[in-house]
């Protein structure tokens, strides 16, 4: 992240609150939401802070209402955000599909919990499919960003607003209880906008211009096909321009871990330990889950002996790794649903793969 000249100081902050700080820094002045653990810090923070800076916090009667408040405010040309977790995000799927179809930007945060159903609040990456393949109907896509630190909760939120506006599409932050609830020092780097602020498509009353509308219905002839090709073009551009990832100690690695978010964070400890023992292991950490770093995964896979996919689920991103590279025989998986693999477990697996005795 580029830093401005402004004096930057470190603050100890909760991941969930860093998202709020990032949103406010990026000019978001509208937040709607409905309570659900483990993301309640977000509405609570917003309800306290937004009114003080002329913004609007409104608690909706449900997540279905929430996503439609979002739709309305986005259609008004304003930056707007919501956050929820598993069940609430599921209830937003219809609305998200409408927003993608109507080309409306917004930032949706999923601080995911354990599922399926009511599940539990143990940390989990079980919502990968829902986020990355898009759980709503109709085959739209949206950028999905996976922060692994409080700093990234802040900075990727700002980025999410820019991506949303740039592509006129919802963008998602996919976190979990660990990055959401932990505190660590972060730097409140200034927001530098990468997109124009004007939204000529916004519905503001048709003074001085013909009326316009925002909609997803295309009934005549093959209008819906044409519309879909247009959307598809946007997705292609995202895939070309917006892939983000971190290469962590991949120099000379024979084993490459692929992991995101909390799983990647924990893996770093294990990699430190293994490197200290002389094991050549590193990690490719997708920061954008969509667009997925397909080329990068393929390149790494071709170089190393083993690709170890680590997830807090039973193997979802694993499919995207297989889709990215034909080196299927090098791929191994370490996963736990609804539980964080400990650094010890990952370290053990690395040692096993490196052929070290237990």
């Amino acid at each position: 992240m580029s830093r401005g000249a402004a004096v930057i100081h470190r603050t100890l902050m909760k991941g969930n609150e860093a998202i709020c700080a990032g949103a406010i820094a990026a000019g978001c002045r509208f937040y709607y939401g409905y309570p659900i653990t483990p993301q309640n810090d977000i509405p609570e923070y917003m309800s306290a802070h937004l009114p003080r800076i002329g913004g609007t916090f409104l608690q909706a009667e449900s997540e279905v209402a929430t996503i439609n408040f979002i739709l309305g405010t986005s259609a008004s040309g304003r930056r707007v955000m919501t956050s929820s977790s598993g069940p609430g995000i599921s209830l937003m799927q219809e609305g998200l599909s409408y927003m993608a179809g109507s080309e409306l930007p917004a930032v949706v945060v999923n601080i995911s919990r354990s599922g399926p159903g009511l599940g539990g609040i143990a940390p989990s990456q079980g919502d990968y499919f829902q986020a990355v393949k898009c759980g709503g109907h109709g085959g739209y896509r949206m950028p999905v960003l996976a922060p692994h630190s409080v700093q990234e909760m802040y900075s990727l939120t700002m980025l999410a607003f820019d991506l949303a506006d740039k592509y006129r599409n919802p963008a998602m932050i996919l976190g979990d209880a660990i990055v959401g609830q932990m505190k660590e020092p972060y730097e409140q780097t200034p927001y530098v906008s990468s997109v124009p602020a004007e939204k000529p498509w916004a519905l503001t009353g048709c003074a001085g211009r013909p009326r316009q509308h925002l909609k997803s219905l295309y009934l005549k002839d093959n209008a819906i096909e044409v519309h879909n090709w247009k959307l598809h073009g946007k997705y292609r551009r995202m895939e070309e321009d917006e892939v983000r990832f971190e290469n962590y100690r991949l120099d000379g690695a024979r084993i490459a871990i692929v992991a995101f978010g909390t799983a990647a964070r924990v893996s770093k400890t294990a990699i430190q330990w293994a490197r200290d023992e002389g094991i050549a292991v590193g990690m490719l950490r997708p920061i954008t889950l969509y667009p997925f770093p397909e080329t990068q995964v393929d390149e790494v896979a071709r170089k190393v002996d083993v690709v170890l996919v680590i997830e807090m689920n039973t193997g979802q991103m694993l499919q995207d790794v297989k889709m990215s590279t034909p080196c299927h025989d090098k791929i191994r998986f370490l996963g736990k649903p609804c539980a964080m693999p400990t650094p010890e477990e990952i370290h053990g697996e690395i040692r096993r793969l490196a052929g070290k005795a237990e």
């Binding site: 100890l12 609040i121 609830q181 010890e344």
Partner: protein
Amino acid sequence: MTTDVVMAGFGGQGILMIGNLLSLAAMEEGKHVTYFPAYGVEMRGGTANCTVVISDEEIGSPVVGSPKACVIMNGPSLEKYLPDLRRGGILVINSSLVEPSNVDRDDVRLLSIPANDIARQVLGSQQLASMVALGAYVALAGVVSMDTLFECLPKVISRKYEKFIPLNVNALKEGESFARNHA
């Protein structure tokens, strides 16, 4: 150098506050630090706990499988966390509420401190028991300096309770001196 500590007790004993204070102090001293609380189990009561990791390097996992230290403020927490504590790790227990004889391990560095009693008898309020325990832990582990803790107190104590800061300083000191005398 990386160290970590799990702190646990009843909700309302101030566990999260001492975890926060320790983290702030570590940050103040330029260290890397992560603080992870047990977050709302969607209901009240029961236990509260948090994990603090402090290091000179970038921190990976904010949660640990086998912690290097535990500060245990009540009985149920001892049952829960004692088995995980690393061999040779530091164990501070609040002997006002935890029976020291329940510590069934001898491969750890145990400090039994009657935190509630000290808080009540010496400082006049049981509310300060966890500060006493933190003082003891920091004295043993030496992860941050006591002075930094004192400096950071205003950041965790709300304006409304400002006037109690000196009392909290005393609590930390009581814990420290108890640790120095009994370790």
